[in-house]
Amino acid sequence: MWRLPWGVFALLAAGLLPLAGSRFYLYLGTDIAIMALFAVSLNLLLGYTGLVSFGQAAYFGIGAYTCALLMVRAGIPFIPSLLAGGLLAAAAAFLFGSFCIRLTQIYFAMLTLAFAQIVWAAAFKWNSLTGGDTGLTGVPFPGFLDSPARFYYFTLAVVGISLALLHRVVGSPFGRMLVTIRENPERAEFIGVHVRRYELAAFVIAGFFSGIAGGLFGVFNHSVFPDFSYWTKSAEVLIMTILGGMYTFLGPAVGAGILLSLNMLVTSYTEYWPLVLGLILAALLFLFPDGVMGFLQTRFRRHRHPEARRA
């Protein structure tokens, strides 16, 4: 049953959203699609390679600023700008990543955090380039996507293609090598896997797609702020990934959908969203460590094959 292309179904269903006619849901849908890509790209590192990156927001921010700056200051069309955002983010990932992968565990996490803070601080202070903490505003939808519905479809297309590519990658021998690194880096080394090189490659790929997500978001939001790279953004996407389930491919996307929808819902009733989020996160960690998708998978497996119980 898990072989069915859920992703394709979801994509098709998502395509019907604009027909509902509500701007509000269109906005939410675009937001979810973009964050879904961001979360799945993080999961390449977290769920598949076992690297806890606390600074993925760095690449999100770099992608956003690059794309927006190229469009607004240099007049370059959207698609090349978006690609440039992804590429620059990938380059940054290569640079930062080469330092990060030399460290283990907590030090790795702290260095990824440090690099993201450097990006934030640079964006914050480099007024001439980035507009400082007032941000880069007035980023318009590109000419050929001048309505929210059109931008939504474009986003779906880009996210869809990106997710398809990522899906291919995780299902490939390369992806399998990453999983061996997650499972047992020592063993992986001794079946001939050059662990550092694979980790760096994963870092760069994740950085690229996080950059694409950032580029999309900057235009969607019509503005780019230094906070796109602040550590709390990294925490946000990390939570989405864990919420949805880091051991499945689409888990993080589901997590993004749930989290953003809940956010919309809760903030319409109360301003204490962080409190709600904190409680949900705590409940998740104690009760559903495998996330929503992980929980569903175990449930379903047990129902279908009652003899295949995990010890």
Partner: protein, 297 residues
Amino acid sequence: MSLPDPSFLVIQFLSGLTAAMFLFLIASGLSLIFGVLRVLNFAHGSLYMLGAYLTYGVVAWLANTPERFWVAALGGSIGVALIGGIIERTLLRRLYGREALYQLLFTYALVLIISDAVKLLWGTGQLSVSRPPILGGSVPVFDQVFPRYNIFVIVLGPAIALLFWFVLHRTRAGRIIRAAALDREMLGVLGVNVDRLYTAVFIIGAWLAGLGGALVTPVVTIVPGMDVEVIVNAFIVVVIGGLGSFWGALLGALALGQVMSFGILILPRFSLVFVYVLMAVVLVMRPWGLLGKPLRG
């Protein structure tokens, strides 16, 4: 650019020291908790903030009682210590067997919860506490003035450091704590009640953070958002000084305090980036910081 007035430099230096002492209180607790429990407590800044708010609360409650500040500071820090103990005992403990990521995220959940709890209880406005009368006023420093209260803080920092040094190196409890930082499993084998040790260490760490928050109330405005600001600085301090090293926390705090104090003068545009670059450089070149030890396993 003309040479700055020497008394001005001294004031900046003293300001840096003051900031360093607050950083030290927070960072030492963070480092201690990491050293023994191997948990990087994101919520440590939140505990600091709680200390500040609780102190404010007690001060307000004690209205016109003389020396209410000291009672409040003591009460606030102990209150935070208790809250920390309860959290560790009932919640954090259940996550010890899991991967480090779950513990980290739990402390982040605490950050979220505490930051809103504080808003719920005290609102979002800026609050402040006045300095205790004994330590009011300023002292002359060359031809400038420097608040007496800040001098108190500058002296208190090393005093607490010495106190902890004494406890860690000259008492049995301290020896157990230091041993725990080196080899936890051995300790269990030797009959030490590791559970209670962890709770005790967490309480001590929380108390330090709470104390920092309590003592900072006359110096800064109490606002939600104090927690996020301070935790990243605390991280920088423990990275520089060494995760798990108590003296490293002091050293790192002194370093960061001065960098922040003078950085703003010398290169205002770059000082913010610089502290993070410093953090990154230390992690790349000497991950265990100036005084830490390389982690085993």
